[in-house]
């Protein structure tokens, strides 16, 4: 792996970092497996691309994307809580609906941002560093800023209710909190982060594409699990940072797979998905192996 590829992996890790945090919030905190992600990521990209090409500032476009993502997440939440549709199915419905909506928003399947000013260009110009260094720095700063706001939020009264909803809905209901509203808000918040991530990704890769969400949820879940395995999840602060760093580790692993050469045994580019799957399985089995190893030592 060259240094460029390494920085590229960190950049991708942070670009998708907000998405991974969003996945963490639904999957781990709310206990709500949310496939809306595959649709809300390109939604954020589409909204951002349309906003930028119609003359809005790239920074504002990220907030507009987040707003759109929040609405998309709320739809999933409402389908689940008010209409009693199973969470997986509710999110799949929103996801497939978003495909058509994203095509409507852009008016075409692929919207180029090449030659348009983006937050990435701004920051690169502002720091004067090489783009391959300043871009990961920018995305990292954004991710950590969001993580700190989330940590603050999760310690407020609403945040605590949010944390408790996934843990013990009965207890929190008996405290007089409406869990339905918390779920709608929570899935909305998660998808706002995912859509903001989509906006960053589009601005970074020079185009919004209606198919760019495919496989996001897999990458998101893999990143969350890798993060937990490597960095632990004892406290919420630790878990959030672990999810974010898990995203970076996941992309570094992909980067290694992309550039893998083992002597005369040639890995072809078509092996990438297999290698990705093996990496994720490895991350899933690691905690168990670690426990067994520790148990064996303590004897």
């Amino acid at each position: 792996m060259t240094l460029y590829a390494f920085f590229g992996a960190i950049e991708q890790g942070f670009a998708y970092g907000l998405m991974v945090i969003g996945v963490y919030l639904t999957f781990r905190v709310l206990d709500f497996p949310d496939l809306t992600v595959d649709g809300s990521l390109p939604l954020g990209a589409a909204v951002s691309a349309v906003a930028i090409t119609s003359g809005y500032s790239p920074l504002l476009s990220i907030f507009m994307a987040a707003g759109a993502g929040f609405l998309a997440g709320m739809v999933t939440g409402v389908l689940n809580t008010k209409f009693k549709i199973l969470h997986l199915l509710a999110s799949i419905l929103t996801m497939i609906a978003l495909y058509s909506i994203n095509l409507r928003i852009m008016g075409r399947p692929n919207m180029a941002l090449l030659g348009q000013d983006t937050v990435v260009d701004w920051f690169n110009g502002f720091t004067g560093m090489l783009p391959q260094h300043s871009t990961p720095l920018l995305f990292g700063l954004i991710c950590f800023a969001v993580v700190f706001v989330l940590i603050w939020f999760l310690h407020t009264e609403l945040g605590l209710a949010f944390l408790a909803t996934g843990d013990n809905a009965q207890m929190i209901t008996s405290q007089g909190v409406n869990t339905d509203n918390i779920i709608i808000f929570g899935v909305g918040l998660s998808n706002a982060l995912v859509a903001a991530s989509g906006a960053l990704v589009a601005q970074n890769q020079g185009a919004a594409d209606v198919n760019m969400g495919v496989g996001s949820i897999v990458a998101g879940l893999a990143s969350v699990i890798i993060g937990e395995t490597v960095f632990g999840d004892k406290t919420i602060t630790r878990a959030l940072i672990a999810a974010l760093l898990g995203s970076v580790l996941y992309r570094i692993a992909i980067g290694l797979a992309l550039g893998l050469k083992l002597g005369s045994f040639a890995i072809t580019p078509s092996d990438l998905n297999l290698i990705t799957a093996i990496l994720v399985v490895f991350a899933l089995v690691m905690p168990k192996m670690k426990r067994q190893f520790l148990a064996g030592r303590s004897k």
Binding site: A112, G115, G206
Partner: protein, 316 residues
């Protein structure tokens, strides 16, 4: 001392150009494994070999994942290539966004202007990028349809509204048909499993079904073939592989030849020092006609002898 050093340097320089030749690095980014895209990738390499150019060919494949696609760009920057070959739109866009100091040659991009890769087809506005478009010549497609179905009033088209290639194709088809007073009926799908339904929905609404270079529809072309055979409705396509799979005819881009021509562009940059910014976007004018007589019979059409005679390949 200085003179001797200079002399040594000079001898080394001469020797290196005369005997060793330069070993170039060509990095390729390809969005997904696909026969047409693979053919272009091989065509570029074969042409460079034919020309006796010494090069390493670093091929990357994003497995249809946009995140991998962007990461591949960082891998490529690390390889310090002399030329980057970007196959299909998303890979070309990711390269164009990140790489400004090395020549990029895209290929298999249908609409490079809308994709934001070049300002116009004449020149890339002095940028480091040029390449080849695989835009289907819709005038030739419609002419073929009229030859095979002379009294065509309405053309039915099946396409995926989510494919960047298909939307400009549809627009061009409509323009071309409008010139000749022909209607266009659309059936859109979002995945391959919708092809059967879409083809059925066109029965009775059109005189011929046309499928362009749409990856989603082409991957399930057999469903359209079945509907057309059952209803004796001609099916004409824009890729030659689908003719072998049961469509009547196609006048199509040969993606391997396209790769060869892209290889020529790469060679001009590597060897002749051409600047991508001065090189216009190229098209493949040499098209192949394939026909399938069995399919024609099953769909109730008699192919005119003039069409059969022109075909590069006739399936009986």
């Amino acid at each position: 001392m200085k003179k001797i050093l200079l002399l040594m340097v000079a001898v080394l320089l001469v020797a290196s150009t005369a005997f060793a030749g330069k070993k170039y690095v060509v990095s390729v980014t390809q969005i997904v494994e696909h026969p047409a895209l693979d053919a272009m990738r091989d065509g570029v390499a074969d042409r460079l070999k034919e020309k006796g150019i010494d090069f390493t060919y670093n091929v990357h494949n994003a497995q249809n994942n946009m995140a991998n696609n962007t990461q591949i760009v960082s891998q490529i920057i690390g390889e310090q290539p002399d030329v980057i070959v970007a196959i299909a739109t998303p890979g070309a866009q990711a390269c164009a966004q990140k790489i400004h100091d090395r020549p990029i040659v895209f290929t298999g991009v249908t609409d490079p202007v809308t994709a934001g890769l070049v300002k116009d087809l004449k020149n890339s506005g002095g940028r480091n990028i040029t390449g080849m478009s695989d835009f289907s010549p819709l005038d030739k497609q419609v002419a073929l349809i009229r030859e095979i179905v002379p009294n065509v009033k309405t053309i039915g088209i099946i396409y995926n509204s989510g494919e960047p290639n298909s939307v400009p194709n549809l627009k061009a088809l409509k323009e071309e048909a409008a010139k000749l007073g022909i209607n266009v009926e659309e059936a859109t799908i979002s995945n391959s499993s919708g092809v059967y339904q879409a083809a059925k929905s066109l029965v009775g609404r059109c005189d011929v079904i046309y499928v362009g270079t749409d990856n989603t529809v082409v991957s399930a072309i057999e469903s359209a073939v079945k509907v057309c055979e059952d209803n004796r409705l001609p099916l004409i396509v824009a890729d030659v592989d689908s003719v072998a799979r049961g469509a009547i005819a196609a006048v199509a881009v040969d993606y391997y030849k396209m790769g060869l021509q892209t290889g020529d562009m790469v060679a001009r940059i590597l060897v002749d020092g051409a600047k991508p910014g001065d090189m216009p976007v190229e098209f493949l004018n040499d098209l192949n006609l394939h026909v399938n007589l069995k399919a024609a019979q099953a769909m109730g059409v008699t192919l005119p002898q003039s069409v059969v005679d022109r075909a590069v390949k006739v399936i009986r």
